[in-house]
Point group: none
Chain length 225, copies 2
């Protein structure tokens, strides 16, 4: 599996155990102890899932979730907490969380809930190397896009962009999210860069009229097949 996890926990001892257990199960764990630097860590590591303790110094897990959702709509978020109040659970989900686990929890339960969330997205890009996008065939490793026997070798960024669009097809994809995922930051120049790459992909994909990259001005794109 080898998914990247951003794990934010201020109880050092607990954190260490959880981290080690997850690593022994082949997860790649990036741990933060303090709410303050989580957003930077998020941008840097671009995790596949976030596990947030709620009670943290400086910022609560809820605040973090809100900030993460500002730059990424899709990444699954799990809250961990000692609180048992229902309103907290409601709060967690309202803020765009995807699951909520009460402490003390068992590692097995955490893992199984993480895998449950990860598999929602993964099925397409994982496993087999080939993606069938409309009438096109795309070989992810070799970055080759193919239709009617004709082949086009894509560059790294072109390929990453195509994969990301396809992975989130039918959904609204924020420019922010896209920029942070592919360029690792969302500066103005990269933003214009993205426009250039979108044009390129549209060019490559124009032989199947069913495929469209729809612009949502001020927001992002929607990839439909």
């Amino acid at each position: 599996m080898s998914a990247k996890i951003l794990y934010v926990e201020d109880e050092l001892f607990l954190g260490k155990i959880v981290k080690e257990t997850l690593e022994s199960r082949c997860f790649e764990v990036f741990m933060e102890y303090d709410g303050a630097c989580v957003i930077d860590a998020f941008k840097k590591y671009d995790p596949d899932i976030c596990v947030l303790d709620i009670m943290l110094p400086n910022k609560s897990g809820f605040e973090l979730a809100k900030e993460i959702r500002n730059i990424n709509q899709h990444v699954p978020i799990i809250f961990l907490t000692a609180k048992t109040q229902t309103e907290d659970v409601v709060n967690g989900f309202t803020l765009g969380g995807n699951d909520y686990i009460r402490k003390p929890f068992s590692m097995e339960e955490l893992i199984v809930r993480m895998e449950n969330l990860l598999k929602v997205k993964k099925p397409v890009v994982n496993g087999n190397d080939e993606l069938y996008i409309g009438r096109y065939r795309f070989q992810q490793q070799r970055q080759v896009l193919e239709i009617d026997g004709r082949q086009k070798k894509l560059s790294y960024r072109e390929a990453e962009l195509l994969k990301f669009l396809y992975l989130n097809k039918e959904d609204i994809i924020n420019r922010r999210e896209l920029l942070n995922h592919i360029w690792k930051n969302d500066s103005f120049f990269n933003s214009r860069n993205l426009d250039v790459y979108i044009t390129k992909l549209r060019g490559y994909l124009k032989d199947d009229s069913k495929i469209e990259i729809i612009t949502i001005k001020g927001v992002g794109y929607r990839f439909v097949v």
Copy 2:
């Protein structure tokens, strides 16, 4: 919302309360008391989500989940149980369950977890992507409005507005509500903006005289087809 729920519970008293609460929140609840006839009920009601108690006479919730997954891969399944063993949770997810709630649970938590799963459910591909509005056909994902073979590609805001009007057709729709839904706030300028978009939509929709966007001055609009 009005999602259809298949709820399987053998504790009659608890079941009654849960059913009533869900109904008061506008869910449509089909309840079964016994594992034996759940599959028939599933086929008959075609629910949007299943809530299964695990300890049931005749068949366990796990067995039911397995059988449901045989005929439907996507419908969300939530397990309810008094058991606290981790292995049960693992079991639940392994069998294709999507969430697992321990008894006693609060109704708020159940509802919020249900809503969470309902909204994930893929925004669909074909099928309900198309709206038939009078003589027009509207493809929601592609934002294409079509009549007599002629196509008009709508912008994001135009499309959102049309969808919202159609979704609430025959009803009075508050300007406020509309502004908050599409512009996320109801400032003065956005309010004038809405007027502009209404004019645009009226223009696009004028080829079917049955369709009208009726102004209710000081209140909002009513969309009739």
